[in-house]
Structures are given as structure tokens and as C-alpha cells.
Symmetry: C2
Subunit: 272 residues, 2 copies
């Protein structure tokens, strides 16, 4: 039944995620359902959800009912489709407090005020970084990156800070694969990137000058964890016009200062 000799279209891409943890299939599936809902732009139907995860509609429906009865998801009474619910919201608030992000926010706010630019805190997530906390610049022209945004490692200040101050730099570089050219300034050769990362290590902060999005710059510093490796990164981002070359060292200094301060707000013994 599980091998699925009758079903041929689905049940192939799911394997890699689902087989991570043995003995807890149901929970893993439920969390996968929440994950799809999290990334969905709009409401999702049972069939659509089942297809995305390679599950049966029957199974998916049962999972959704469990989640709905706990109010982690809500069902649209008209379309019968689902989206995240109230309890998911409250869980997030509690997590923000538990992980010390509530305490880190004022530090980011101060950095945003001092520099006048958007500030965010990101952490590593598999092959990307993901924004977990942010403060927006007050300028009409500002850089926006909502919480939850996934950003590539090789062409962003945040990503380069995580790489440069993470474990196993060379292994990481080998894993990156092709460095797609996103702008004329993107570092597309491993050699160039390595040189940039070594410079980042020396300086203590990373710089991105339009390598991912033309006209957008960033300066980032690692948030040191228990063993000294980066467990996250604080970045200041804004348009090139407001971040001329001569301003970078000062921004670097400020970002490093904030990143170090953020460490103290994050409960020790954890690796977010």
C-alpha cells in the first residue's frame, strides 16, 4: 500500500522530507500541511494540499480537521478551503518571546534609527537564509523584506556573513553549486566569492553592492553563537544612493555592534 503500485504520479518528491524522522509520521505530515499553508499566497483546498504533499485527500482532510479543531487552521465557510488560524498566530507570538526576539527588536530599531535604513535579523535555513525579524526604514524609498523571506547565501550581505563566519567554509562553497548571475555585479565564480568571504572575515562584516538586486546595498555582521560561529546575521539594507562607499565602514561598525548586542538577548543553549 505504501509502495503504491497503483499510484504513479505522486509520492516521489515527498520522500526526502518525510523520511527524516522515524516513528512520527503523522506529526511530520501535519507540520508539512502547516508549512504549505504558511507559504501559500491564498487559501488552499484539500486536494491541492494533498497533491502538494503526496498524501491522500482522505489523510489530508483528517489532518486538517485535527488542526482546525485546535484552531491552528480555519476553513472558509463558503469555499471550504483552508488557511492558517488564530492559534498559529498566538504560537508565533509566544515563540518570538521565548527565542528572545522581543528583546532583540529594540536593538534593531535603534540601528534602523541611527542608520535610517531597513534592518533585519536572519538565520540560516538549509541552503538559504530566512528573515526572522525586521525593522523598516522610514524613508519613502526603502528596502522591504517581510519576515519569512528566503534569501540566497552567495549574493547577499546576510548570506555572505553567515557563510564567512559559519562552520566549514570550503564544504559550504562546494555545496553552493552554480552562482547564478542576477546582476552585473554578482560574484559568479567561486574564486571571487571566496576572496570576498575572506575579506569579510578580516573586516568582521560583509558588504553587498548590488549583487542580487541592482541598486540595493547591504552590510551585515554575524551574531556570534556559543562556539563563536554565526548563528544568525544582522543586516542594514538600503538603496545605493544613500549608501555611498565612504559610509560603509561606519555602517559596518554599527552593524557589528548591534549584532554582538543581539547575542545577549538570545537564550544561550539554543541554536535558532
Amino acid at each position: 500500500m505504501w509502495k503504491g503500485e497503483s499510484v504513479d504520479t505522486t509520492g516521489e518528491q515527498t520522500r526526502s522530507e518525510a523520511e527524516q524522522v522515524a516513528g512520527t509520521q503523522t506529526i511530520t505530515r501535519a507540520l508539512a500541511v502547516l508549512g504549505v499553508l504558511r507559504d501559500a499566497e491564498d487559501d488552499v483546498g484539500v486536494t491541492e494540499l494533498a497533491r502538494a504533499l503526496g498524501l491522500h485527500t482522505s489523510t489530508t482532510h483528517r489532518i486538517l480537521r485535527a488542526l482546525a479543531s485546535a484552531r491552528y487552521v480555519v476553513q472558509n465557510s463558503q469555499t471550504e478551503r483552508y488557511r492558517l488560524g488564530r492559534e498559529a498566530l498566538l504560537l508565533g507570538r509566544a515563540a518570538s518571546r521565548a527565542l528572545g526576539f522581543d528583546a532583540a527588536l529594540p536593538l534593531l530599531e535603534q540601528l534602523a534609527e541611527t542608520t535610517g535604513e531597513s534592518v533585519n535579523l536572519s538565520v540560516r535555513d538549509n541552503d538559504d537564509a530566512v528573515v526572522v525579524l525586521r525593522v523598516e526604514s522610514a524613508h519613502p524609498l526603502r528596502f522591504i523584506q517581510p519576515v519569512g523571506t528566503r534569501i540566497p547565501l552567495y549574493c547577499t550581505s546576510t548570506g555572505k556573513a553567515l557563510l564567512a563566519f559559519g562552520a566549514d567554509l570550503y564544504a559550504e562553497l562546494a555545496k553552493l553549486g552554480e552562482l547564478a548571475r542576477l546582476t552585473p555585479d554578482t560574484l559568479t565564480s567561486p574564486r571571487e566569492l571566496l576572496a570576498d568571504l575572506e575579506q569579510t572575515r578580516e573586516r568582521g562584516y560583509s558588504v553587498n553592492y548590488g549583487e542580487r538586486i541592482p541598486g540595493v546595498c547591504g552590510v551585515a555582521a554575524p551574531v556570534p553563537g556559543e562556539v563563536g560561529l554565526a548563528m544568525g546575521a544582522v543586516a542594514v539594507q538600503g538603496p545605493e544612493v544613500r549608501m555611498p562607499g565612504e559610509r560603509i565602514p561606519e555602517l559596518g561598525r554599527l552593524v557589528m555592534q548591534t549584532a554582538t548586542a543581539v547575542t545577549a538577548t538570545i537564550p544561550s543553549g539554543y541554536w535558532i
Copy 2:
């Protein structure tokens, strides 16, 4: 085994919650674990968690491993205890967006600025209300109520708005039980409360003048849902000194206006 002839201390209080949804025991248990972690002040150990839920440590541990491998919880490397993790945070952000709270926030912010007082949006949750969105007053002396706070129905502006504009007023009143006297101004008789609620219905907004906490006042209006009943309430809260009697009608008008505007931001077809 499930009846537990050997185990006698646990497994009694759990029944009521766990038996709600049939066919999804595992998920319900996992969500219950998340719920305990959500409400916990500090990190929680496996045994403690198991005891709180009437589960076996073995089961609890397996659930935690599943949640941890999806990063919904993290384990302290030193104490081996657990707390909420990064994915819980991101889920909350997505839920906030999906439920339209991101859109409602600016409306509350404007009300907070206009009135100078703390503002929150709350929804009904079983026998209480729960704060889902809030904006704090800028005053040094301000009323603070973090998101997730549970507040009683009978002695708060929010709660009275939910009661007065909810379904089945008389059934609700009967369910309330004893109206504990929290302050000299608490309405402790059903008769008084009913009169207040009827007045609330006529006015369109509810008023709490130190009925729960001495010196703290609130004015709240219902957020009308699809069928006209309150699906939530917007409240302005502050110290008595800044909210004299003659200011109440104006506050009521503003709160009603905001509450109505909030309705438009919440996706239709849902009942948060």
C-alpha cells in the same frame, strides 16, 4: 492498557480535551504539547510536559523529537529542556498576514495615536476573550496587555462587547457562573450585568470603569462578522485619570469607527 489499571494518578484530566477529535490522536497530542510550551514561562522538560498532559514520557519525547526536527521547538543543549522554535515564529507571521491582522494593525495604530491610549483587538476563546493584536499607548503610564492574554468576559470592555453583540445573550449569561468581585465597581449580579449589556447594545459600544482593575478604564466596540454578530472587539484602554466620563462618548465613537473598519480587513468566510 489505555484504561490504565496500573496507572492511577494521571490520565483523568486529559480526557476532556483529547476526546474532541476522533481519528487524530497524535496530532491533537502534538498540538497540546505546543500549547503547553506556548503558555510556559520558561523551558519545559519532557517529564514535566508529560505530566501536564497525562502522557507517557516516551510518547511525549517522541512528539518533541518530531517537533524539534521540524524546528517548531528547540532543545536547550545544556539543560535538555524544550521551548518553542523558529518555525513556530514564522508560522505566526504567516497567520497574521493570512488572517488580515497585518492590515488591521495600521487601523489600531491610528486609533492609538488619535486617543493616545493603548488599543487592542481581541476575539472570543471559549469562556474568555484573548488578545490577538495590540498597540501600546506612548504615555509612560499605560495599560499593557500582551498578545495572547486571556481576559474575562463579564468585567472588561472587550468582554462585554463580545457578550452584548454575540449570539445567545441569555444562554451566555447563564453559563457565566459566579461573577467574582474583583474591584468595588465589578458588576457582580446578573441583573446589573444584563442592564449594562443592554445599554451597550443601544450605545453600540461597551464601557468598563474599573470593574476589573482599579483605575483602569476601557471602551470597546464589536467587530461585526458576516451575520452581524461580533467576531471580535476593538478596545481602547487607559488609566481613569486620562479617561474622564465626558470623554467616553467620543472614545466610543472612535472605537466603533475603527471596529467597523477592521471588519473589512478580515477575510470573509472565516470566523477567527
